[in-house]
Amino acid sequence: MNIAIVSGKGGTGKTTLATGLAYTINANYIDMDAGEPNGRHFLDPEISKSIDCEVMIPENTDKCTYCGICANKCQFSALAVIEKTKKFMLFDDLCHHCGLCVEVCPVKDAIKEISKSIGKINSGIFNKQKNINFVEGVLKIGETSSVPLLEQIKSNLVKEQLNILDSAPGSACPVVSVIEAADFVVLAGEPTPFGLNDLEIVFELVKAMDKPVGLIINKYMGNDLLHDFSKRENVPILGTIPFDRSIAENYSKSINIAELQSKELKHISENLLKLTGYHYE
């Protein structure tokens, strides 16, 4: 079973809660915020394997006639072809590795696909007694899309185990990719106007993707912003974590929140497992 943690706004506590939950219920922790993975600081994993994630990008050969059909057909404008000066230019930050350029090319073997590494997938364990899996995607600096990396991580998840998927912020393609794999989605909410605004956007996405959903209110300051959202949208509240300076101070020291707020994390975990129907030892 895959439980995804999303938030819309950044800095609401996705990683804090995801690592706290993984620690509390001995679930596999999967860091899918490949642009900025930081879950490892709170789980202290032992990494045993690191593999490259590769995508295919086009390159022309000496058979290329510079007709430009590939560039015209590219839906992402990733190619420019100049017949006069014989230039085949790939803007690889725009390339989505779909292979259409190769398909539409009228000349045999004029375009070949070569592989390019966009990042790494590190894996290991974070709880030596219980062999709990830790996986993280790490996108290379300068790469623009983590989606191929996330898809590779998803294809290796063990469905029979409980996996906590720690998402990137926002509600764009990488978040869609994470929600797609989820059996249940947890909204990590911050009860501020900004937090609510972005939470509503990602909640629209979760609804459109028809996933069951619950809400954790983090940094709770006694206001009703997210309680009102929960009532209005009929989203169950799994629990709250208070706004407390000491939590932030301990975060800065890489201390897992479950060590400090164990009662709250256990309460949230029980509610979460009740809603998802997952049983664990």
Partner: protein
């Protein structure tokens, strides 16, 4: 000589469109006669990405000698440079005034 300009409307009285890839129209002007020889509707204006590459590719396909805009992004520069097309930047003015500036060598050339 043929020059390619990003414009708000397809007319010599139109103002230059300051955003090259997201201009409403492109016109090809014969700099000797000062007349518009071709007007192109920018069908890529609302694309999420790569509009500069598309606009530069249109200029390349029109076989122009130069391109005039307010400012060019890095990808536009790369494509036009590879095609050997000269680039000039201008303040936002009417196309008529810009053609006069071109004839009088008053436009700044982009290297």
């Amino acid at each position: 000589m043929k020059t390619f300009i990003s414009v708000k409307e397809s007319s010599l009285d139109s103002m230059l469109d300051e955003r090259f890839g997201r201009a409403a129209y492109f016109i090809v002007v014969d700099t000797d006669s000062g007349e518009i020889v071709k007007s192109i509707n920018n069908e890529y204006i609302n694309d999420a990405h790569g509009v500069g590459i598309k606009a530069a590719s249109i200029a390349v396909n029109e076989n122009v000698d130069s391109v005039i805009g307010h400012n060019f992004g890095p990808k536009v520069l790369e494509v036009l440079k590879a095609a050997g097309i000269k680039m000039y930047t201008s303040e936002v003015k009417t196309i008529k005034d810009i053609i006069d500036d071109y004839k009088n060598n008053k436009l700044s050339a982009t290297l």
